[in-house]
Each structure stands twice: as structure tokens, then as C-alpha cells.
Amino acid sequence: MAGRSINYLQRIRLTAMAMCAAVVLIMAALWFPHVDRDIKVVDTLFVIDITDSMLVKDARIGRETVTRLDWSQEFVRQAMLQMPCGSKVALAAFTDSRSLILVNPIEVCANYHDLIQVLYKIEPPMAWAKASEVSKALFTAINQAKDMDPEPSIVFITDGHESPPLHETLYPKFGGTPGEVSGVLIGVGGTDVQPIPKSNEDGEIIGYWDVNEVLHVDVYAAFRGDLADAMANVQRTEHLSSQKHDHMERLGIMVGFDYLDMPTANQLMRTLRAHDSARTQRVDYDPYPIFAGLALLLLLLLYLPYGLLLSLRKRKT
């Protein structure tokens, strides 16, 4: 059956009514007041490791093999692009035993250009000392995040390589409450050990760290009398670097952070949004697309070539 076609007069009436409704809808699209809409935003402090081990080329962007640092910068950029306007972003660099906050939280859309510019300056030449005490740096980042307004979640990007290495039991302990500041540890780097490039003050690579240039035992052991004993039991591999999964997992548990191994920006945003720290931000929303869309739908229904459709269906049967 081809459906009941409406008669001629009904059609006139329907057309007229639909047209009047379209007029009303377009007027609504134009003059309906803006509404407040709540969206979930996450304020984030990105901390990027700028120690030399981050110059190891074992991360991938697409098909290209890049340094861990390049990957980190691209990752932060992608994450910023995914954040809805109104979210705030802060940036920090980590080397030595602390995180240095470079920019306090600012709105990501209006300041995107400046944030990107600072992001690409987070490179080894900025480093003020050549050491890589990941745990301590993580703790300082957490402490400083508490001083910020709004208090951000932390995204700490590192390969987890501690230099000098940690003592089995005398490693730095976290003084705060785990999970008080929420955050994510992002692990970067592959599982195979690689030589670590050595950079000079201008950021040029001037060779690789030699086996005899780095500490292979923790500082505590290094200054004890029985150093020789300690050395005897140690594999001398601290001049090589890979992503330290176990260490980062342990750190994550210590401070109550999730640990993700080279995730996509999408995965990061999902993890962050799942935290309680996501804050709702009220945005001004113009609902015109709803009304204009309805008006358009109405018009299309009016002008669809029903006759053509009918005759096509008839031909089939």
C-alpha cells in the first residue's frame, strides 16, 4: 500500500501551518535567550621531564620514531586541544630534584598560543642541574599544586629513570596523603635499554653518557666504607635507560596517581575526567542550532518529492 495521500485542501492547510511554525522557529533561533550549560572541565598541571634520558629516541608519533621529549610535547599539545574552553592549564619542567612551575593555571583557549610557545621551550637547555630524582620532583609538584588556584590535577610525564639510583629501603617517602591531589603518571619510552645522549648548555648533543660518568649505586651506599661490596653486587647499567614500569607503578601507588604507559590524549582525558577533581564550568550556550535545525527539518518534510517516491514504490510492486 502506498499510504493514504492527503487531499488537496488538507495539503494547503498543512503547508500554511508548517510555514508559520518555521517562522516561529527561526524567530526563536534568533532571539531565544542564551542558556547556561554545565560542562565538565579538568584543570591540569603538566610536568615534563627534561633530563637527558628524555633525549633517547624510542617513542613513536605515527610512523616516526622520535625522542621521548618530542613525544611528551606532542602529547601535551594534543591533550590541550582536547580540553574544552574554560579548562585551565599550567606547565612545569622537571630536572634535578624538583618541578619548576613555569606558568600557573590559565584558560586554555584564549592562551593556547602562549602555552604552546612555552611548551616548546621545555627542553634540556632549561635544566639547572644534571640529575633526575623523579620521586622528589613528583612530590614537589604535588606540594606546589596545592598552592595554586584552582588546584590542578597533575599529569607527570617521565621515563621514570632515577639518577642517582635509589636505595632499596632508603628511598624518598611521600609525606602527604595519597590521592589528596589527583593525577596521572605518564610513562614514556620503550622497554629496551638505550644509551643516554648527553646535551650541553645549548641543547646540542655532544655524545653519550659513559658507564663511568654516572652513579651506579645510591648516594647512601656510595659514601659508605663498604662501597666495594656494594659495587660488587650491582649491575653497572645506569648509563642506559628504558621506561621503568615497576618504579612508576610503585610511585603511582605511593601518591595515589594512575599510571599510563604512553597513552593517547583521548585516554588521558578520559582518565582525568573520571577523577573527582573534574570541576563543572558554566558556559554560555546559544541554543539557536536546535531551533534552526527544527525549522530546516520542517521545510525539508514540506518539500520532499512525495509524488516521486510514491511512483517509485508503485513501479517496484
Partner: protein, 358 residues
């Protein structure tokens, strides 16, 4: 209008829907004998015009939904201000208490508790807020210097960077020479827009070698830079200019040497000794009148939505079409017993069907 940007350009693929009104419309109206219908030349003209209007209406709505807008734009206006590179001392000495009482005095005035780093932040924020038209860059230095922000108009970004500078502890020693040269480098590739200043905020000076002095002199003169120095004394009463009440230990302080050197540069130079913030505010206002030149200021015109224009045009067309349809309706539903005007019945709106029915 040439630089319209669409938020959802993919929606524009729906534009061919605007052809629908031109597609053959069959409404199955039987007329006994076509010759009975009067010929209405006006309808012959109006029908295609109305189809065109309906078509345009659909197109306009599709385009309005695609989110037409003019993106953020930079425009220039002339302002009164300067381009300023903020040069912040991030060394460890900045962690010390600001303006502590000299050791040999009894502390009648309570000793401050703010570190020099925190004080420097207050001064910088005050400075930035008082200079609406200035463009700022940011360099922090310790034993070597890092350019963090290139010159930007975004006050939020500058303030957030200055705020971050107040957090945490200092990082290392001081190397003012490298910092001064770094700041000069940042102007190197900029077009000259107006007054250029390097705003140095630090707690100490440094003895310069003759070679360093001549290098700085040459660079700063060539690039037409001026220096503003906000000096944060570690001890109360310490001044850059010698005075009669000087502690004799202060006579040969490196900061005094640096101050003397800056004075000989024959470039605009202004030194402030941080004391009270309100005095400083007055002093900033004072330099306004003296030094600053006209400067080209980039202003960001915020993004402007054009959807309303499309909708307004659509509203006019829809209003027209609705009026005509309503007129047809009125014509078709005249009360019974009334003389039906055939011309009105076959009027502009239904003529299209009659023509196609043949």
C-alpha cells in the same frame, strides 16, 4: 565577507537539499478539463520565484547551522606604551627575606617575612597592571637564562608566568650578563614598534669585566633598548646611590657598580629600590609621561558569529512564504455559500500544480 570560517564545514554538504523545491512535485489533483482553469500570467512568474525563495531559505538554514563566523583577528591601533622583556632573577638568594634589618640594629620595626621572590612578584604584577598597552616577554635567569614567553599581549599568560615565578625555591647562582644579552636577543628579530625596555628585577649586582661591559653597551645601543631595574635590597637601608648614612660595607657593593655602569650606557635607564609598593606605583605612573613613545598595539578582535545574519535573512524569506501560504489557505476555506472567486482559488500558490498536471 570573504573570510567566513565554518565551524562544521561538513554540514555544507547538505546544501544540495536546497534544490528540493525545484524537484517535480506531484499532488494528484484532478481537473476535469484543463481549459476550465483561467490563465494567470502572474502565477507563471511568481511560481518559480517562490520556488527560488524556498530553495534559498533551505540553503540559508543549512549555512546558519554550519556555524559561520569570522575568526579571532588581530587588528592594530596606536597606543602609548612599550615592549618590555621582564628579566627575573630566579637564583637562590631571592629566597631570602626581603629588606631584613641590618645585623647591628635593634629590631624596632617588625622584620618582614616575605621572601624577595614573593616581593618581586607583587612589584611585577603592579607594573603589568598599570601598563595596559604594553607588550611583555618573560625571561628567567639564574646561572643561565631561559626565554619563556616571547613578546605577547596576553596579560593572563604574562601574569600566570609571573605568579609561577613566585612559587618554590630558587634554582642556582646569578648570571646577569647572560640574562641581559638574552633579553637583547629577543628584540633582535622584532620590527621596531616603539619604546623597548628590559625590566630587570633582581637582588644583587655582579662585577662585569671590561669586555662584557663593552659588549652590553654595544648591543643595547644598537637595538635602542632601555633598562628599568627594580632592585630588591637584602637589607633595609641599602641603596644604589651612595648616601651619608651608608654602612661602610656597602660602599663597594656590586649592585652599586652595576648601577654606575647602567648610568654610563647613555640609554634610557631607571632604577627603583623596592620599598613601599605605593611609592613604586607612583613612580611607574611618572615614567609614563617621561619616556614612553607611541607604539603600534595589536589587539585581538574576538570571534564574531555570523549565524544571526543568515537567520535574519531566512526569517524574511520564511515570513514571505508563510504569508502567501496563509493567503492560499484563506482562499480555499472561504465560508460555504460565499461566492468562490476562481481566480483566487487558482491563485499564485496552486498554479504550479495545475500546470504540471497536464
Amino acid at each position: 565577507m570573504s573570510d567566513i570560517v565554518w565551524e562544521l564545514p561538513a554540514l555544507l554538504w547538505a546544501l544540495p537539499l536546497a534544490l528540493l523545491p525545484f524537484v517535480y512535485v506531484d499532488v494528484r489533483k484532478s481537473v476535469v478539463w484543463l481549459k476550465l482553469t483561467p490563465v494567470d500570467p502572474l502565477s507563471r512568474i511568481l511560481t518559480p520565484l517562490l520556488k527560488l525563495a524556498a530553495s534559498l531559505l533551505i540553503a540559508l538554514l543549512v549555512m546558519a547551522l554550519a556555524g559561520p563566523h569570522i575568526p579571532e583577528q588581530l587588528s592594530q591601533r596606536s597606543g602609548e606604551g612599550a615592549e618590555i622583556i621582564i628579566l627575573v632573577d630566579r637564583s637562590r638568594s631571592m629566597d631570602d627575606i626581603f629588606a631584613a634589618a641590618p645585623r647591628n640594629t635593634l629590631s624596632r620595626v617588625p622584620i618582614g617575612t616575605q621572601s624577595k621572590r614573593q616581593v618581586s612578584r607583587d612589584y611585577l604584577i603592579e607594573f603589568i597592571q598599570r601598563r595596559p598597552d604594553d607588550r611583555f616577554g618573560y625571561v628567567f635567569f639564574s646561572n643561565h637564562s631561559t626565554e619563556l614567553l616571547s613578546l605577547t599581549y596576553h596579560k593572563d599568560a604574562v601574569m600566570a608566568t609571573v605568579d609561577a615565578g613566585a612559587l618554590g625555591r630558587g634554582i642556582s647562582q646569578t648570571n646577569i650578563v647572560e640574562a641581559l644579552l638574552k633579553a637583547a636577543d629577543m628584540f633582535e628579530h622584532e620590527i621596531y614598534r616603539g619604546a623597548r625596555r628590559v625590566l630587570l628585577i633582581s637582588d644583587g649586582g655582579q662585577l662585569l669585566t671590561e669586555q662584557e661591559e663593552s659588549f652590553i653597551r654595544q648591543r643595547y645601543q644598537a637595538l635602542q633598548l632601555g633598562i628599568i631595574w627594580i632592585y630588591l635590597p637584602a637589607m633595609r637601608g641599602m641603596t644604589l646611590e651612595p648616601s651619608d648614612q651608608d654602612n661602610f660595607l656597602w660602599v663597594d657593593m656590586p649592585e652599586r657598580k652595576l648601577h654606575e655602569f647602567f648610568k654610563t650606557l647613555s640609554i634610557p635607564y631607571q632604577a627603583f629600590e623596592a620599598g613601599s609598593l605605593s611609592d613604586f606605583a607612583d613612580a611607574i605612573d611618572a615614567i609614563d609621561q617621561q619616556h614612553y613613545e607611541t607604539l603600534m598595539v595589536d589587539e585581538v578582535q574576538p570571534r564574531k558569529s555570523l549565524a544571526d545574519r543568515f537567520l535574519l535573512f531566512a526569517l524574511m524569506l520564511a515570513g514571505l512564504l508563510a504569508a502567501i501560504q496563509a493567503y492560499s489557505w484563506w482562499g480555499a476555506y472561504l465560508p460555504r455559500g460565499h461566492d468562490v472567486d476562481v481566480r483566487k482559488l487558482s491563485g499564485i500558490c496552486y498554479c504550479e500544480y495545475l500546470v504540471f498536471d497536464s
